[in-house]
């Protein structure tokens, strides 16, 4: 019997198998941010266990609230900063070098095909785009990961998600994943890995694949995963050029991780996206999704562009192409938060920031900020935001606020008109 990519990763990292259903895996990377890690650090210190299993396999960033907004967040940042210094963690990203974790760490080449990755953050599933098993975990798992370099999972089953057809203009990975979540529902993939395959995925950039995998958790999945291929190898090439004699060799090596043709899948679902139109959420759950045409006319107060879902250069380019020469509607606030310093600087070089600023957007430093309602654009009760983020939970961006999730081009279209708008109707 063949194996899925996830089964191959589990088999190659298996430390222990306490029961037939449970596995304890060795970890390649443990990632940390300043919201969920400080309490783990403090607890380890109190227990007299302030150690790290391998300082080179731990990556840390201050990204959720940066620059710190008050003394509590400053203290969280300080605990992480002091800890990184104390243990000699060199891959620690502080102000000036920091960005949203799930955008920053891939950019640094930290994630490779076949890796096992954990982070105290549910959107860790993003990194599955590289053919890794990457899962969000809680603080106790994080503590054990930091201390022992292991984590426990039930053996996950895989749901194969085949994406076929051809995406049309102004329909992107975000629309695809919103549509899939709508079809699967918020727990349709619980305890499963969503393996994204098919011609549409093959053609997607790494950025788009990250958007796809980023929202796997919104269907309850443990992880999203894409099969690592030439696109993956090209993205990683600056980091792996010393390990392979050619790109072809890397591509061939990566293919070893692919699911075997006779691998067993718990379920296979096929989605034809040829007639897919832009998708928008309407409620407080990420599976409450409608065609943008059904939502058109819903007034918005704020546009939020950024996050680990859609704050990458590809997203900014697509949004800026639609926005060029136009302005935000009167009374609409626009906030752009490029996800990392590299994205910020690239967007600057390409003149994209200028397009946003001339349209009336405020450009913030890279941070999670308003995505989780902590800073940089929290909504007032009753306000509505067109957002490129991944969660529309009640109160997510501020108590009493309403968040409509959508793609970057749809968010910009809403900004131009002041209400939810089909981006395909905006004239260039």
């Amino acid at each position: 019997m063949g194996q899925t990519i996830t089964e191959k990763i589990f088999a190659s990292h298996l430390r222990d198998k306490p029961t037939a259903e449970n596995a304890v895996l060795d970890l390649d990377v443990v990632m940390c941010h300043e919201i969920t890690t400080p309490i783990a650090i403090t607890d380890l210190m109190e227990r007299g266990m302030d150690r790290v299993f391998d300082k080179n396999r731990i990556k840390a960033v201050i990204d959720h609230v940066t620059p710190s907004k008050d003394s509590k967040t400053a203290t969280q940042a300080k605990i992480l900063r002091d800890w990184a210094r104390r243990h000699g963690i060199k891959d620690f990203f502080d102000i000036g070098a920091n960005g949203v974790c799930h955008a920053l760490f891939p950019e640094k080449g930290f994630i490779r095909p076949g890796y096992t990755v954990i982070m105290g953050d549910s959107h860790t599933c993003t990194h599955g785009a590289f053919g890794a098993f990457a899962a969000g975990i809680g603080t106790t798992d994080l503590e054990v990961g930091i201390l022992k370099g292991v984590c426990t999972f039930r053996l996950p089953q895989t749901m194969k998600i085949e994406i076929v057809g051809r995406l049309t203009d102004n329909v992107s990975a975000k629309d695809v994943i919103l549509y899939i979540i709508k079809e699967l529902t918020v727990n349709g993939a619980t305890d499963k890995v969503m393996e994204f395959v098919g011609p549409v995925v093959d053609k997607m950039s790494m950025e788009s694949r990250m958007t796809l995998c980023n929202m796997a958790i919104e269907a309850g999945a443990t992880c999203g995963v894409c099969l690592p291929d030439r696109v993956t190898a090209e993205y990683l090439w600056p980091f792996i050029r010393d390990e392979y004699s050619s790109l072809d060799e890397a591509v061939a090596d990566f293919a070893g991780w692919h699911s075997d043709p006779d691998a067993a899948f718990a379920e296979t679902r096929t989605f034809d996206v040829s007639s897919l139109v832009p998708q928008v959420t309407y409620g407080f759950k990420p599976d409450e999704v409608k065609d943008v045409t059904e939502m058109a006319g819903t007034e918005v107060d704020q546009i939020y562009m950024g996050s680990c879902t859609n704050g990458r250069i590809e997203d900014l380019r697509a949004a800026a192409a639609l926005l060029r020469g136009k302005k935000l509607a009167a009374g609409v606030r626009g906030i752009l938060s490029p996800a990392t310093p590299a994205v910020f600087s690239q967007a600057n070089d390409e003149g994209l920031l200028k397009i946003f600023m001339e349209a009336g957007f405020c450009v913030t430093n890279p941070t999670c900020g308003a995505c989780l309602g902590m800073s940089n654009g929290v909504l007032a009760p009753g306000e509505v935001c067109a957002s490129t983020t991944n969660r529309n939970f009640n109160g997510r961006m501020g108590k009493g606020g309403m968040v409509h999730l959508m793609s970057p081009v749809s968010a910009v279209a809403a900004g131009i008109n002041g209400f939810i708008t089909d981006p395909r109707t905006i004239k260039g």
């Binding site: 430390r15 222990d16 306490p18 029961t19 259903e21 449970n22 304890v24 919201i35 969920t36 400080p38 309490i39 403090t42 227990r47 266990m49 609230v65 008050d70 509590k72 967040t73 203290t75 969280q76 605990i79 105290g120 953050d121 549910s122 860790t124 969000g136 975990i137 809680g138 603080t139 106790t140 798992d141 503590e143 054990v144 201390l147 022992k148 292991v150 426990t152 039930r154 918020v186 727990n187 619980t190 305890d191 309850g220 443990t222 407080f284 759950k285 989780l372 309602g373 902590m374 969660r391 939970f393 009640n394 109160g395 997510r396 108590k399």
Partner: protein, 171 residues
């Protein structure tokens, strides 16, 4: 052997997420007790009032996909510091369920009909859980007994007092 149970808090809704259990703005607290007053602050549930409904509860009974969303273990700790030590649901989101066992607290799944039965009890409901026999009783105007499946590894975590204690000994 630690016992689990207490008065039941009935949350009659699917898909209650961790942002509702403890909003992100409180994740700046660096101690578990500080989370106490903010339990279920953003829960969208008709008739529910966190100020009066939480008092002296030990068990949560709820529906499908409980604890979905963010990975924050604060969602378990805010129960812990409010002396809620068991959650019984039709199903859980993976990370929340793991966080419960990692903290040495049982997350128990019952069938839809069984959860329905508990919701039909009237009067205050008292629940007692026996994690060694895999049974629980729910007592309101009548008494119901259920058996449940607990993965042996999850039970070991509960008995060890959580994953850190277990892993520290073993790995």
């Amino acid at each position: 052997m630690k016992t689990f149970g207490g008065s039941a808090l009935m949350l009659d809704r699917n898909d209650i997420n961790t942002d509702e259990i403890i909003p992100a703005k409180y994740l700046t607290e660096n101690s578990k007790p500080a989370l106490k007053p903010f339990i279920l602050e953003d829960l969208k549930l008709d008739g529910f009032n966190p100020a009066t409904d939480i008092n002296n509860k030990g068990v949560i009974v709820t529906r499908n996909n409980f604890g979905c969303g963010s990975s924050r273990e604060h969602a378990v700790w805010v129960f812990e510091v409010n002396e809620i030590n068991v959650v019984i649901a039709e199903s859980f989101a993976r990370i929340f369920r793991q966080n419960m066992f990692n903290c040495g607290m049982p997350a128990i799944e019952l069938k839809k009909e069984e959860i329905n039965d508990i919701f039909t009890l009237s009067g205050p409901v008292e629940i007692a859980v026996d994690p060694e026999k895999n049974t629980l009783t729910a007592k309101g105007d009548r008494e119901l007994t259920f058996s449940f499946d607990l993965n042996p590894f999850d039970r070991d975590l509960v008995l060890a007092g959580g994953w850190l204690a277990y892993a520290d000994k073993k790995y």
